[in-house]
């Protein structure tokens, strides 16, 4: 029995380590793949792009809502060391501006409430006390604008509004 104890302990340690590693790395691996997929489909870095109306043929990530119009900006603060000025144009009805880091955390959401919203996004490690400014937990991630657009007519209206969105290096 004793001769198996040490190998058993080795197996247990390896099991615990691999279990923890999978849980730790899975979100960033999955997020990384999603960001690559979005980039391959033309989502710009440090710039917003309104995606096509969500259908089974245009979806890029799991569980998209077909009732929302999505604008996306892949942020890379290594290319914007002074930060990004992020702007969501005023929208009637529901609209939100949400920020996700490289580990999938939704670290900031700003609701539109019918008005234009602007946020300055600073690189990790920055400090600020200025209102409407946020420090990103990671250098890369994605910023999403969601606008309620259940019909093709609603989506057409969003197409016009989204022209005034911005995700620009300062």
């Amino acid at each position: 029995m004793n001769k198996w104890l040490a190998p058993l302990l080795v197996a247990l340690v390896c099991a615990a380590a691999s279990h923890a590693a999978v849980l730790h790395f899975a979100p960033s691996v999955i997020m990384g793949r999603a960001l690559d997929k979005m980039a391959a489909r033309g989502t710009p870095v440090n710039g917003f792009s309104l995606g096509p109306r969500t259908t089974p043929q245009t979806q890029t990530v799991v569980r998209p809502s077909p009732d929302m119009a999505y604008s996306a900006c892949l942020f890379d603060l290594a290319k914007a060391p002074r930060g990004l000025r992020v702007r969501m144009n005023a929208t009637p009805g529901y609209a939100s501006l949400s920020f996700f880091d490289a580990r999938t955390n939704n670290f900031l959401t700003v609701r539109g409430n019918g008005e234009t919203r602007e946020v300055i996004l600073l690189p990790p490690g920055s400090s600020t006390t200025v209102p409407d400014t946020a420090v990103a937990p990671s250098t890369t991630g994605v910023i999403l604008i969601r606008r309620l657009a259940p019909t093709a007519q609603d989506y057409a209206k969003v197409t016009e509004l989204a022209r005034e969105d911005g995700c620009d290096a300062i």
Binding site: V13, A15, S18, H19, L23
Partner: protein, 199 residues
């Protein structure tokens, strides 16, 4: 040499078991596609720590796989359901009646996803049902692979296989996050019939 092989085997087996158990418990492999397991309201399962840095590692990994870019609870809450009122998993071989009333929120919707957590591969243009269709009244929708002959509200399950439903509740009213089971009205899902008597 024999000892080295024993220890190496132990390491490999342990690593494999550890990795597999993590993948399974976090919903990263086939099977449970629910986006959370924190609360169950009438068969609709959700977790209010979705999108939050406070989410535990299992939920974070589950959301990354089945609900990437989900919003935090202050903005939206999500519930998933993968079986009917009798407890039988959904199938595109069957027709269902999905019914309910409004939700305490700015807006809500119910969307059907296939067994890979994507919108089903069809061009039927009937992917979801939302608050605008309910217009504040009790509502009823058919879920089936073919459009109902009477033209009534419909969600298409064509090419969805073993599908599930996600209910999104945007900007929940005050009190919902503290007392979700009291305030949310879980829609019912009744199986009507199945093709060839299946199910």
């Amino acid at each position: 040499m024999r000892k080295v092989l024993v220890y190496l085997s132990a390491a490999l087996i342990g690593t494999g078991i550890g990795a597999w158990s993590a993948l399974d418990m976090a919903g990263l492999i086939a099977g449970d596609r629910r986006t959370g397991a924190g609360i169950d309201i009438g068969g609709w399962v959700g977790d209010l720590s979705v999108g939050s840095a406070d989410a535990d590692p299992y939920l974070r990994a589950r959301i990354a796989r089945h609900g990437l870019l989900a919003l935090a609870k202050s903005e939206a809450i999500y519930f998933t359901r993968d079986r009917d009122d009798a407890g039988t998993p959904f199938s595109e071989q069957c027709r269902y009646r999905l019914s309910g009333e409004g939700q305490p929120a700015l807006w809500w919707s119910i969307t059907l996803y296939d067994d890979r957590s994507f919108l089903p591969d069809n061009t039927d243009g009937a992917l979801s049902f939302d608050a605008s269709g309910a217009d504040g009244k009790p509502w009823s929708v058919t879920i089936s692979p073919a459009r109902p002959a009477d033209g009534s509200p419909w969600i298409s399950s064509r090419n969805a296989g073993r599908f599930d439903l996600t209910m999104r509740i945007y900007v929940p009213d005050a009190g919902v996050l503290e007392r979700p089971a009291e305030m949310i009205h879980p829609p019912k899902v009744e199986k009507l019939d199945c093709a060839g008597g299946a199910g």
